[in-house]
């Protein structure tokens, strides 16, 4: 499927942020609030790898980098792995698996709801990311996986709702997402309107 070891490169990129953090923890000590650092690293990581996954199709189309298409799924799954770690820290460490506290957060904190909705969506996308699920779901697979934009949007909102005053990081994430969405719309408008685009979006197209 790939001549370049693109998956190897993708995975190397994916493990770099935690490796750098671990290196810093070892050399400089864990600092005042290591759990917060890991929470931020995995939250940012989940969102950024999701944006990277969304950037693959525009990059392939606009720059003709055909070989990178499979990275869409790889980066998507990496994003899911980050999101799972992020969720686990919240439930296990922050809330000590106190189900009452978890239920309260899930029902009363909009940022938790947005984050949980994003994770749930990513979960569905991850389990349906196999080739067999793709064949089984047929045209519905594409519909379903367009939901990745919603997951990214929920991720940005989740981040935004946690900020006290300095919105720059969330604005950057939101801006990148908007650009990627605009690139998709621009591609759609540039090509014959009314023509079904779905086939072009197929992840198997190489």
């Amino acid at each position: 499927m790939t001549r370049l070891p693109i998956h190897g490169i993708a995975i190397a990129i994916a493990i770099l942020p935690p490796l750098l953090l671990a290196f810093r923890f070892v050399t400089e000590g864990p600092g005042a609030n290591p759990i917060e650092e890991i929470t931020h690293l995995t939250g940012d990581g989940g969102l950024r790898f999701l944006l990277l996954s969304l950037a693959i199709t525009p990059a392939r189309r606009w720059f003709g980098w055909r070989g990178i298409a499979p990275l869409r799924r790889t980066f998507g799954l990496i994003a899911f792995a980050y999101a799972c770690t992020h969720l686990a820290i919240w439930a296990l460490v922050d809330l000590g698996l106190d189900w009452n506290a978890i239920a309260e957060d899930l029902t009363e904190r909009p940022y938790v709801m947005a984050g949980m909705a994003a994770w749930s969506l990513l979960f569905v996308l991850a389990v349906t990311s196999t080739r067999s699920a793709m064949t089984r779901l047929g045209k519905r697979w594409i519909r379903l996986h367009q939901g990745v934009y919603l997951a990214a949007l929920l991720g940005v909102v989740h981040h935004f709702w946690l900020i006290k005053a300095d919105y720059r990081p969330a604005i950057v994430h939101g801006g990148v997402l908007a650009l990627l969405f605009a690139a998709r719309l621009a591609w759609r408008l540039r090509n014959a309107p009314g023509m079904p685009r779905a086939s072009l979006d197929s992840p198997i197209s190489r």
Binding site: A32, N33, P34, D94, R109, Y111, K164, A165
Partner: protein, 324 residues
């Protein structure tokens, strides 16, 4: 004293070095304020190696009265390096690490405070004058940030009420407010208007006069590091940390409730009172738990940050859900 093992590569950077110099000078000032000549600071090389080892080299404050039991929590103090490298001080940037990185630019000497409003003795008061007549006291307090992290810090300072009384507030003075220095040259975070600078905070007079409220000038036995609000900051331990304003240059007495920075920025999220209350959630996150710096698990947050016995009576007739 332990002799730290330092690799030669661990050289103190210039900003930290300059910061240390100004702190050493302030230390001298504070010593005068405490009307005691201190022993001379250790030599520079010794100080530099201690800095690199993460140990403090700030000027030790002499003749500090130990904390009396009612002003000393029986909990392990947070590690000094955590309390001095994980800070919210947006004047130096919004990242927790920014204050320790950039606060070296702040010149804390000379320092004076403008006193105005409803007082018999307004004027510009040098820091030394504020510190002079009183003996510095240690206070070991819990400190709870609105962001749900917390620490236990041995502060050094003076009862706020003692200092304020010297300016002779008039009968009209129902509130007192404070302002942080505004100088984007020294405080690079002020180049962006994240907050409507200068930072302002305030208290009701009875809160300010409460014996728990202090003006802090030191922590961990030494003068305050710039990133912790040198040379003069407020500590009001039963309120969220944002009330404990840093690097104060103005004290204003008023009849009307003053504008305060976070309350102005988001009145539905940060109340004027901002008493620590596990029952009243921030609109976006729970306040029921907190994480002590240096710890992993969160712990339950206490009403009034554990000072309910001492301060709850101040709010006896108030609805704390409405007046959060």
């Amino acid at each position: 004293m332990k002799i730290p093992q330092i690799p030669e590569s661990d050289v103190t950077d210039e900003a930290v070095f300059l910061n240390r110099r100004s702190l050493l000078r302030l230390g001298a000032t504070a010593a005068i304020g405490a009307s005691l000549a201190g022993c001379p600071a250790a030599n520079e090389a010794d100080a530099a190696s201690k800095e690199a080892a993460g140990a403090s080299d700030r000027r030790r404050l002499p003749n500090v009265a130990p904390a009396p039991p009612e002003f000393r929590v029986d909990e392990k103090p947070t590690r000094e390096r955590d309390a001095t490298r994980y800070n919210n001080f947006y004047e130096f940037g919004t990242d927790k690490k920014d204050p320790a990185r950039h606060a070296g630019r702040l010149r804390t000497e000379p320092w004076s405070v403008v006193v105005d409003g409803e007082v018999a003795k307004p004027g510009r008061v040098p820091l030394e004058t504020i510190l002079t007549p009183s003996r510095l006291e240690e206070r070991i307090y819990r400190f709870r940030c609105v962001e749900t992290w917390s620490m236990v810090v041995p502060w050094i300072g003076l009862p706020l009420g003692d200092v304020l009384a010297r300016f002779e507030p008039t009968s009209k003075a129902r509130f007192v407010s404070f302002e942080t220095l505004f100088d984007p040259e020294q405080m690079p975070g002020q180049r962006r208007r994240v907050i409507d600078w200068p930072y302002r905070e305030g208290l009701r007079m009875d809160e300010a006069m409460h014996p728990l409220s202090i003006f802090a000038v030191g922590m961990y036995g030494r003068v305050l590091p710039n990133q912790n609000g040198a040379p003069l900051r407020l500590i009001v331990p039963w309120k969220y940390g944002f009330k404990s304003i840093k690097s104060i240059v103005r004290i204003h007495f008023s009849e009307k409730r003053p504008h305060t920075s976070w309350n102005d920025l988001a009145p539905d999220e940060y109340g004027f009172y901002a008493n620590v209350n596990p029952e009243v959630a921030h609109p976006r996150w729970s306040q029921a738990r907190e994480r002590r710096l240096g710890e992993f698990r969160k712990r339950p947050t206490l009403p009034f940050n554990g000072y309910a016995d001492q301060v709850a009576s101040l709010y006896a007739d108030m609805d704390l859900r409405r007046n959060f």
